[in-house]
Amino acid sequence: MKEKLLLFLVFLTNLVVYGQNTCDTALPVQAGITVIDAINGSQAPSPFCVTGGTVATAGEWYVYSPIGNHTVTVTTDLNINIGDDPRVHIYKGDCTNLVCVAGDDDSGTLGNPDALCVVTFDALAGNDYFIAFDNKWDASGITFKLIENEYIPQPVAIVSFTQQTVGLTGSYRDCVVDMNGDYLDDIVSVSNGQVQMLLQTETGSFQSVTRPTPTTNFLPSWSIAAGDINKDGYNDLVYGNGQGVAFMRQNSTQTGFELMTSPEYVFSQRTNFIDIDNDGNLDAFVCHDVAPNVRYINDGTGNLIFAQGGMGDYPSGGNYGSIFVDYDNDGDMDLFIAKCGSGPIDELHQNNGDGTFTDVSIAAGMAEPSQSWSSAWADYDNDGDMDAMIGASSNTSGGHKLRLNNGDGTFTDVTAGSGLDVFLSTNIENVAHDFDNDGFVDLFMGGNTIMINNGNMTFTPNPVNTSVGSIGDLNNDGFLDVQYNNNIFLNTGNDNNWLKVHLEGVDSNRNGIGARIELYGTWGKQIREVRSGDGFRHMSSLNTHFGIGTAETITKLVVKWPSGIVDEILNPNINESILVVESSTLGVASTKNNAFILYPNPASEVLNIQNNSFEIEAAMIYDITGRKVVSTKNNVQSLDVHALSAGTYVVILRDTDGKTHTQKFIKK
């Protein structure tokens, strides 16, 4: 009894003296071995400095205050720990404001599976570094060793993100796109019966609005895509479900959504909005896992008509990752399908220009088994055509494949030596964006890795703190961010310059989906395409983003619309977003539009519209760089132009049939 009492007193003393249960009572540690008897302190580490499971209920806290500068390693990768599964977070700051410095879960090599954590960070004299273990996987005791190495600053990642939690309430959180017509990327979450939108505000915060929808069995469990199917300026959604497809059309008052479904069974995989028949109305394409792919053709009067066949007819299964890309530079969007399953071969379908497609997989050299759920297409070498990376989701048919577009409708295998040949993480999500704004499009792939484009068709792995999610500019700073589940990952950015292009189609579909955008400058030419639906599951921004490295000027921006119309803007400003309205930069003569007359022209105060041929639904004035400067609705007979600065402007009138009519005028 006496012994027990003594033990109890010793235990109590330990608690008091070594009370490392919270940050405030963190136990000072120095270089050497420290033994933790159990991870049961009342304060669980937060924020989380490791990716992965984000709920822990207990922690153990230590504080390290270096005398000199050191590169410090905290390791549990010790034989005594084999079989344990610790996780560690390193913070600086103070207990009321902990800032992640580093963290780790499984970097150790001992044990099988290797589950021990090792973390290395730079520790500078005069600072406190908190070392906190959590009990997420394992609450048992752990021994760790703190090693003070010579101070060699850790390399700074080319791309890094700062994690923030956002209040997404829906079950399906896979969509970043503008939903309220201001071109700022919003975040969409979906539940049965409602769509929640985190609307990005001009001040960089989010306003949450939730709109009712009809209920449906076809929720977006496999993928989601967005586009404006009724040309009202507000994006609509397609839900890719395992048993069918639903469309949620946002009403023009933005108070709710209208449901459109078709009864056909579809095991949806990737969904895309694309104007398949190029009639100016956005259609939808849905990969069907276990049958020929399907499409929904927009008849322009609010109907989406189901059709099946002719765009990947299923030999033999596994239509997973569709992406529309103009691989042959002929101005229309072709279709590549990354396939996976028991033996299927990837497919490339060439757009015949009349709404039909021809399978050219073999001729193009793209008929390969890849076990892929998505491919990422971009002009990785900036030579003016779209190259491909087919991302392996399993290495049973070889790994990732990099294909250089030869410019003649064929591709060359350039995987060997590209860095993708030795990048072994597999994933179902692979997307192409310029994350470091250096003017070369990078690859975001599996293993929480961005493969940085070195500019010479080789890529270098850059670990980040998130899986591939929805991509967009969530703080409107010109650097691309990521949303994944309930978190956003804001790009830390750098000094590189950028341009974002916002499109407003008129003859073409409203979003300009399928447009080819060219950007000219000291780098030569960069190209992008507006796509709805890349990667496998997520919807990413419809705004087009270019990094231009250290260049200070852009020579020319060219937008080649699906309609065939080409808009050119000379010397657009850098580090801005620019709105390009279809046809707005055309000369008057080239529009061949005599349907109405503007007078007086030049005008100084009021511009009158003489028009006997149609009823005006809306009138807009754009400046020569494509910025909308005046917009008014209903039967307009004159426009107030007194506030405009002198220069050349374009007036676009939209009639009640949705057709547009364009004239130029000069402001005195």
């Binding site: 099988n112 069995n217 469990s221 395992g242 276990v290 989701s393 049973t396 597999t426 994933n427």
Partner: protein
């Protein structure tokens, strides 16, 4: 078929000798042997699938009671597929003079043309009135050039089931023991049926393997080994081994948990996770005949797909939270749950078993 003739000839001799030994002194009328009643089942392979389930005459009396007609034999796999707690009745029927043959413990019996496999899905204690409701009856019919599906959906009156090829939903609430459960029950389209009943380009059955049928079942006329009963019925050639490697009933908590888990995974998962199946590009091989190898169960195997959340192994010994198998079997999200088809609810009892099994596993070395 030819190597089965000796058995047939022996049988014939036995019958002839019985006849020969009968009492010659009896009156001729007493010699009358009633013609054995023939099965009323109607199967014209050029006409199936019929529009109505009743057209097959598989059942006697009120069809919803599922009383099998003569020649329609009930059967039950030792471990069974979970489909949102639906109850099932299964039957097999074959034409006269046709029988299946053994093809391997873990392989589908080699069925003759004209075989009909019948599986009816129903719930007891359906709310609001705690009634039994029959939802669907699925047929697999073997034609000369392979199996076809016949999917029949029962009407609300429970008097008839009609052919459906496109799939449909039924909202359902019922009492499962003392727990109220609900689901939007999915009647699969033919295309969905093929996702699981698939080998290469061919439609195949799943459950009718000797490993699943080598067990005692209580028939109307008494308990008997199912395979023996099939032989008695003339539905299976008796030329099969006596030492069949047999799955166990995963519900039997007295048995080895490893065998229970493997038996559960076989009937619930192996149809997609074996060579030539829907998902054969993933490394798991869940068939009972393959799953004795720990790697085929995903033990200490890194998953291809990054699911985040620290799920770094398909089965992480000792750590269910880090095991993709545990995560997927507990998920109801269509994109992450497993099995992919046939369930919207978590199979709580099985999930508990798998959690216990993973927890008890030790490292990989």
């Amino acid at each position: 078929m030819k190597h089965f003739y000796p058995y047939f000839i022996v049988s014939l001799l036995v019958i002839l000798s019985i006849i020969a030994c009968s009492d010659d002194n009896q009156k001729k009328d007493d010699d009358y042997e009633p013609i054995p009643p023939t099965s009323p089942v109607v199967l014209d392979l050029s006409q199936v699938p019929y529009q109505k389930l009743s057209d097959y005459k598989l059942f006697e009396g009120d069809m919803k009671n599922q009383d099998p007609s003569l020649g329609v034999l009930p059967y039950e796999p030792i471990s069974q597929l979970f489909t949102d707690y639906a109850h099932k009745k299964r039957f097999v029927w074959m034409p006269e003079n046709a029988k299946a043959t053994y093809n391997g413990d873990g392989k589908i019996l080699n069925f003759p043309t004209g075989t009909v496999l019948v599986k009816t899905f129903y719930y007891d204690n359906v709310l609001p009135s705690n009634t039994t409701r029959v939802l669907e009856t699925r047929l697999l019919i073997k034609k000369a050039d392979g199996w076809i599906f016949g999917e029949y959906v029962w009407n609300d009156e429970q008097t008839e089931a009609t052919l459906l090829t496109t799939g449909e939903y039924i909202d359902l609430e019922w009492m499962e023991g003392n727990v109220q459960k609900s689901t939007t029950y999915r009647i699969p389209s033919n295309t969905e049926c093929f996702t699981c009943h698939k080998s290469g380009l061919d439609i195949i059955p799943i459950g009718t393997k000797p490993q699943n049928l080598n067990s005692t079942y209580t028939f109307d006329d008494g308990a008997k080994n199912q395979l023996a009963k099939w032989v008695e019925m003339g539905y299976l050639d008796s030329n099969y081994p006596t030492d069949i490697t047999t799955v166990v009933n995963w519900k039997d908590e007295g048995l080895d948990i490893g065998l229970r888990v493997r038996s559960y995974l076989d009937i619930n998962c192996a149809h997609c996770h074996q060579e030539g199946s829907y998902c054969d590009y993933r490394p798991m091989r869940f068939a009972f005949s393959e799953s004795a190898d720990p790697a085929n169960l995903g033990i200490c195997i890194t998953p291809d797909q990054d699911l985040g959340n620290g799920l770094t192994q398909i089965v992480f010994p000792g750590r269910p939270l880090r095991s993709v198998l545990d995560f997927r079997i507990n998920s109801t999200d269509e994109a992450t749950r497993m099995p992919l088809l046939g369930r919207t609810l978590v199979h709580e009892e099985a999930a508990t078993m798998i959690n216990q099994w993973i927890t008890a596993l030790e490292g990989c070395d």
